[in-house]
Amino acid sequence: MMYSTRLNSHAYTFPDLRTVLAKASPARSADELAGLAAASEKERAIAQSILADVPLKRFLDEPIIPPERDEVSRLILEQHDAEAFAPVASFTVGEFREWLLADTGDLTTLSPGLTPEMVAATSKIMRNQDLIAAARRCRVTTCFRDTIGLPGRLSTRLQPNHPTDDPRGIAAGILDGLLYGNGDAVIGINPATDNLDNVHRLLGLLDEIRLQHDIPTQSCVLAHVTTTMELIRRGAPVDLVFQSIAGTEAANRSFGIDLAMLREARYMALELSRGTLGDNLMYFETGQGSALSANAHHGVDAQTCEARAYAVARAFSPLLVNTVVGFIGPEYLYDGKQIIRAGLEDHFCGKLLGLPMGCDVCYTNHSEADQNDMDNLLTLLGVAGCTYIMGVPGADDVMLAYQSSSFHDALYLRRVLDLRPAPEFESWLIRMGIFDARNRLSARATGIPLLGNFSALSGELP
């Protein structure tokens, strides 16, 4: 179906919904690289005005990637819950935006009625403040050994990566993070290599530390899902199953996965019954541009492809999902402005689709971005109610060679917005003398039991 309008006797015509979505996207280098972006600011604004009048139902009638060619499209249609959709079924995209911003109560029950394309379309006509205000109204709570996503809480993934996976170096990073109050979302290592023995050894290290200090959290080594499945078969202590996912079948295939594989991995991990409070045990990472970089975007813009990845994620009741927003580089998100916008879009879309959405607030050294841009995004996401952020020592990931949020950044956000860690983890922090009861680092120099327990690492510790 054609979409067209006239402005000053000039006709603007877009051949299909996919094209309207792409042209309406706020500017980013990924869509320019793909040849999908609006040719001018005016064309973008016109596409946005056309998009605002598209009925939400149209996204069910006109799939942007044919279901017969893509299992993610099939999944999206299978997932759709007409009953949950009913309250908004008569709206256009523009009306839906207004409805989201009016005070209409809890949005959680709406999620199964929304498709990624509806949510992506709405985000394209929303300003940053709209994305923040609407996301703030979504609450998604998940559990494994602690409770993540409660109101007034902010969790962190402790990310103690090391360039050669040296166990002492990783343990030192974990100690540092715990002593700064990080790690309630997960203690998660990106392994330097996917070597089975190596990943097995790291899983053992994480489990030993968690058990020794009775930490109410979960661990993960972010290896390929097939590596994790093989290690479950070998009896390794696997809490969470990690995988990078994307929004098209072809992009997922480029990651070496499909939906059936994720389903099998989840069942294998569920059989281990390692969660004490709940069984959300999948951990997914995503990022705008992944489908394009795999040449698997079907002419769909980067942000819409990203929202489709959330349809994949929600099929597996994950504990954690985060966009790695600035990791992919300047050819996808060129500068701080584009990274900030994308981070807010991803958080909004994920939350509206019912995900426990976190964000790796990050950038690389070849992007036009710096720490100030990250401070801005971090603060905005804190206001938006972001579920969790990363905690990397000094913001510098020495293995993945990029900058993310630091342990100190989490303390900053807790301080300025009065956000507390997950309740079980907060109690542990207070019990261990790391936090005082006022959500701050305790005045400490000595006497923290954790330090003594880690002394095997170094004879020089008190």
Binding site: G169, D176, N195, S254, D370, L451, F454
Partner: protein
């Protein structure tokens, strides 16, 4: 306030034990970070002296061939990865003259995102790789040097040479404390359109802090032999190098 566990920094280059002022970084840690970021930013834009590199490889007694992509400058390289995956017409002509050699492994070196990494470690790593392959009588063909290339450029080069597998050594994205890290990507049966799931990667080659040249070459030899034997690469080919070899 300083952190009593600062001594653990000898186990990692990560910025642990920084201390704190309230919730924030102490000023010394703040300005140190700013300096590191500024240095990395400068490193990203540094050019690669490919002529000097070719000269150094010649001295090892290896044949080289210089190749180019359509990229004209560093900013374009950063914004247009698609151009960094293609050879220009002249490079295609050069490769055509070299095809038909029954090459087991086509070897490529590119500066990628860090010319510093290739200049610091490229020749020594190449030497270790060539020694490893020679020990098992694998024929590597000419060493291809490509400025401003992306990983997938190896598909086009490997296909043009008719190689059984292709290996590209490439400068990784600079981090704050590591602006000189090399990565290796291996692909079986190279042809344009290979996906990343069909590649195996060895990263963080950056002695003394990262992986050593010898360890990287040993891993690469293992993966190459397995890849040739099983006629595949990527996620189906797990790195099960015994730790003794490292």
């Amino acid at each position: 306030m300083s952190d009593p566990w600062h001594a653990l920094r000898r186990f990692t280059q990560a910025r642990i034990g920084l201390g704190h002022a309230g919730h924030a970084l102490p000023t010394s840690a703040l300005v140190e970070f700013q300096l590191a970021h500024a240095s990395a930013r400068d490193a990203v834009h540094a050019p690669w002296d490919i002529g000097q590199f070719a000269h150094d490889v010649d001295k090892l007694g290896l044949q080289t061939v210089s190749l180019s992509t359509p990229i004209t400058d560093r900013v374009q390289y950063l914004k247009r990865p698609d151009l960094g995956r293609r050879l220009d017409a002249e490079s295609h002509r050069r490769l055509q003259l070299l095809s038909g050699q029954n090459i087991d492994v086509a070897l490529i070196i590119s500066n990628g995102l860090s010319s510093t990494a290739v200049e610091r470690h490229g020749v020594a790593l190449l030497q270790a790789i060539v020694a490893a392959y020679s020990s098992r009588q694998l024929h590597i063909g000419p060493v291809c040097l490509a400025t401003n290339g992306r990983v997938a450029l190896s598909d086009e080069i490997g296909a043009a040479l008719g190689a059984r597998i292709v290996v590209v050594v490439i400068g990784e994205r600079p981090g704050l404390s590591a602006a000189d890290s090399l990565g290796i990507y291996l692909t079986y049966g190279p042809r344009p359109g290979n996906t990343d799931a069909e590649r195996n990667c060895i990263s963080n080659i950056r002695p003394p802090e990262g992986l050593s040249y010898e360890a990287a070459a040993a891993k690469l030899l293992y993966l190459s032999l397995e890849s040739l034997r099983r006629r595949l690469s990527g996620v189906a080919l797990k790195d099960e190098t015994p730790r003794l070899l490292l």
